[in-house]
Subunit: 169 residues, 2 copies
């Protein structure tokens, strides 16, 4: 038993500052499992996850990512790839489902995380070179994961602003 | 208290057959709340949700969606829009985070759901016309929601096939 799903969704925040404390292997595995069970169009599962712990590599990824500087501080980075050879139509969209599952699970395990988009062309090329990613694959994002060293509050638009009934208005 | 997040992620399946039983308003609201709290780039929240219960409209959406015929049978359809005026770069990607939160929450409340992509151009145009969606918005998908009339098992690729450590190989 970890945490209620609605509580998790409601309280999870993006965390960009991390404690200098390693993340246990079994927690990383539970996060990967959560990604594995994500839904995808026709169940094609067009994703691949690279777990990066090496500090030198994380520093290089942080630099390549542009604004994701905190990847150098999070003890774990999971780089998420999309595979056009498995799903030509949904290889960019479906890996997001896996990421959402992973960041919810991270939170439920007491970890903080932050989603770093790397689809900017030059960041993607740099990531591919650093991590020996095959030409055919796409880099979607990196997920920074670690024990949180900050607390964050969240703001969202009210339901009245984002929900309509029966038609748009 | 509804359900453990890891259990939810592990056991949720896509459901395409529904009982002829209405979905309570407060459950629909909890699902919308879960969508509302999704993360988005720069917290721009470029999404809008249209809750459709009307049976005639659901039949029209089912037809317009192509393969999402079961939208006519699910008592609720939530149509998810992306707003390029809020986020020019992530209006197609970020609404997926909201959908993932919504389908997990639906499952935790005893409901089944299925994600129906409608980004095919002719489906999207038909949805926009039917639901009076402004020209500037994009239709991402419809989420069918109802009490499940089927049980489904899931298959996923093993972790050994989708995970690498430190580099792709």
């Amino acid at each position: 038993m970890t945490m209620d799903v609605i509580e998790t969704i409601r309280n999870r925040r993006s965390i960009r500052r991390y404690l200098d404390r390693p993340v246990e292997d079994d927690k990383v595995e539970q996060i990967l499992e959560a990604g594995r069970w994500a839904p995808s169009a026709d169940n094609l599962q067009p994703w691949h996850f690279i777990v990066v712990r090496d500090g030198v590599m994380r520093q290089k990824l942080a630099q390549a990512s542009g604004w994701g500087k905190f990847l150098k501080d999070s003890p774990v980075a999971i780089v998420v790839l999309g595979d056009p050879q498995r799903s030509s139509k949904y290889h960019l969209a479906d890996p997001h489902n896996a990421v959402m599952n992973m960041i919810l699970t991270a939170y439920s395990l007491g970890l903080g995380s932050c989603w770093v988009d790397v689809r900017d062309m030059s960041s993607e090329q740099e990531f591919k070179k650093l991590l020996h990613v095959p030409k055919s694959m796409r880099v979607i994002c990196a997920v920074a994961i670690g024990y949180p060293a900050e607390e964050r509050t969240g703001r969202r638009r009210p339901l009245s602003e984002i929900v309509s009934y029966e038609t748009y208005e």
